[in-house]
C-alpha cells in the first residue's frame, strides 16, 4: 500500500473510533479524549506543512460536523499542524530524522514519541478549549481541562500504538 492510502485508512479508522466510542466518554466530568488527532501526529515526517494543514482542516471539519461545534476542532487541528515543524525542530534526535517514515512509537523510541505527542496534543487541546471558552478570565479552568484531557488522550494513543502498530 502506498503511504497516502495508509494515512487515509488511519484517518478513517481513528475518526470512526472517535465518533462511535470516544464521543460519549468523559472521565471525572472533566477529561475528554480526542483520539482522532492521532493520524495527524503520525503523518509521514516529510509531509509539507501546507498539505498537512489542509488534511488537518478536513479532518477537523468532519469532526466538527458530527460534534455540531462550528469550527472549534478545525481551528485546533490546523494550529497543531502549523506548529508541527517547530515542534519537530525542537526535539530533533541525534543524527536527524529519517524523513520517509511515519513517527510511530516503536520506530522513534519511547522518549521521543512521548515528548512529541505530549506537546502536539497539548497544543491541540489548549487551542480547542480556549476557542470553546473564548475568554482568558477562566484560564485556570481551561488549563485544567487541557491538562487532564491531554493525559487522557495521550494514554489512549499510546495504548493503541502498542496494541496495533507493533511490527
Amino acid at each position: 500500500m502506498s503511504k497516502f492510502s495508509v494515512t487515509l485508512v488511519q484517518l478513517v479508522v481513528y475518526s470512526l473510533l472517535q465518533l462511535v466510542f470516544f464521543k460519549d466518554v468523559t472521565l471525572f466530568n472533566r477529561a475528554l479524549c480526542f483520539v482522532y488527532a492521532a493520524p495527524l501526529l503520525l503523518l509521514p515526517l516529510d509531509t509539507k506543512p501546507v498539505p498537512a494543514m489542509l488534511i488537518a482542516f478536513f479532518v477537523g471539519f468532519t469532526i466538527d460536523i458530527f460534534y455540531a461545534t462550528g469550527g472549534m476542532h478545525t481551528a485546533a487541528c490546523v494550529m497543531m499542524m502549523f506548529l508541527r515543524p517547530y515542534v519537530l525542530n525542537l526535539i530533533t534526535p541525534r543524527g536527524g530524522y529519517d524523513l520517509s517514515v511515519q513517527p510511530f512509537f516503536h520506530i522513534m523510541g519511547a522518549r521521543w514519541f512521548l515528548i512529541y505527542s505530549c506537546l502536539m496534543i497539548a497544543i491541540h487541546h489548549f487551542t480547542l478549549f480556549l476557542v470553546e471558552a473564548f475568554t482568558f478570565s477562566h484560564i485556570v479552568q481551561t488549563l485544567l481541562t487541557t491538562l487532564f484531557s491531554t493525559l487522557f488522550t495521550l494514554s489512549v494513543i499510546l495504548i493503541l500504538q502498542i496494541l496495533f502498530h507493533k511490527n
Binding site: 465518533l19 462511535v20 460519549d24 468523559t26 466530568n29 472533566r30 477529561a31 475528554l32 506543512p49 501546507v50 494543514m53 489542509l54 482542516f57 477537523g60 466538527d64 460536523i65 458530527f66 460534534y67 455540531a68 461545534t69 462550528g70 469550527g71 472549534m72 478545525t74 481551528a75 490546523v78 494550529m79 502549523f82 515543524p85 478549549f129 476557542v131 470553546e132 471558552a133 477562566h138 479552568q141 481551561t142 481541562t145 484531557s149
Partner: protein, 278 residues
Amino acid sequence: MRQLLLLLARYRNFFVFLMLEAVALGLVFSKNTYQSASFFAFTSSVAATWNQGWEYFRQYLYLQKQNDVLAEENSLLLKRLTQRSRYTGVSDSLYINGYSFIAARVIQNSIAFQNNFLILDKGTDDGVQPGMGIITAQGVVGKVKSCTSRTALAYSFLHSDLSVSVRIKRIGVIGTLKWNRTNTTEANLLYVSQHEKVALGDTVITAGFNAVYPPDLPVGIISHISYSGATTEGNAFLNLKVRLFTNYATLSHVYIVKHPMANELKELQKQTLLPQAD
C-alpha cells in the same frame, strides 16, 4: 509585485495557516450568534441522522435504568393528578392557557466544556421554537437555541450564558441560578441579600417568571453558605452554592416546555433594565 509574490511564497505556510484559521473561527462565530442556525441546519442533515441512529442503538444498553426513572416520574405525576382532580369541571384560564410539554430524547450531550450544548430529536415539525425551556422531573436542563425541522440545538444549563430565576422554597426569596463552570453538580445562587435567613438544605425551586420553565420545579438544595464580601454596587449578597438534582452526564428523556404566552412575556421583559434570567 514580484516582491509581493516572493513574500507570499516565502511565508506561504503562515498565510495558508491564517486563512484556514480565519475560516474555522468564522464557522465558530456564525454558529454562536443567537439567531443564525444556518450552519447547524446544513450540518445537522448529515450529523443528526448519524447521531440519532447511534443514540437509538445505545439506549438499549440503558433501558432498565430509564424504566426506573420514568416509573418514578409517572408515580409523581399520578400523585399530582389526584391532587388536581378536585378542580375538574372548573373552566379556569389557569388550566386552559397553561404549560404543555413535548417529550424529547437527548441525542447529543456534553458536560466537560465551559459552554455545553445538547441536541434533541424534536424540531419545528413537533412545535419546538427557539427560546423554549427544557426540563426533567429533576430540574432545569437548558433552553432551545435553534431548530431544524427534525432536531433542536439547545444550551445546556452548563453554559456560561444561561441563568435561571429561582426561589428558595422555605422563605420565598428569589435569586438567580447560574452554573459556576467548575463542577457539573453545583451552581451559584446569586442576588440573595445577606439579611435573608437561608439555611443549609433549603430546597431551591424555579420561579417561572418568563414562562420558559414552569414554576415550583425543584432544582436543587443549598449546600454552602458564606458571607465573604460578594458585593455588587454597594449591595451585599450571600455567597450561596446549590447542589443540583439533575445528573447532566446521564440525560436521556427530557421535556420541552411550551407556553402560549412566553413570547408576550419576553417582549414585556425587554422593556425593563433588570438582569435577564429565565
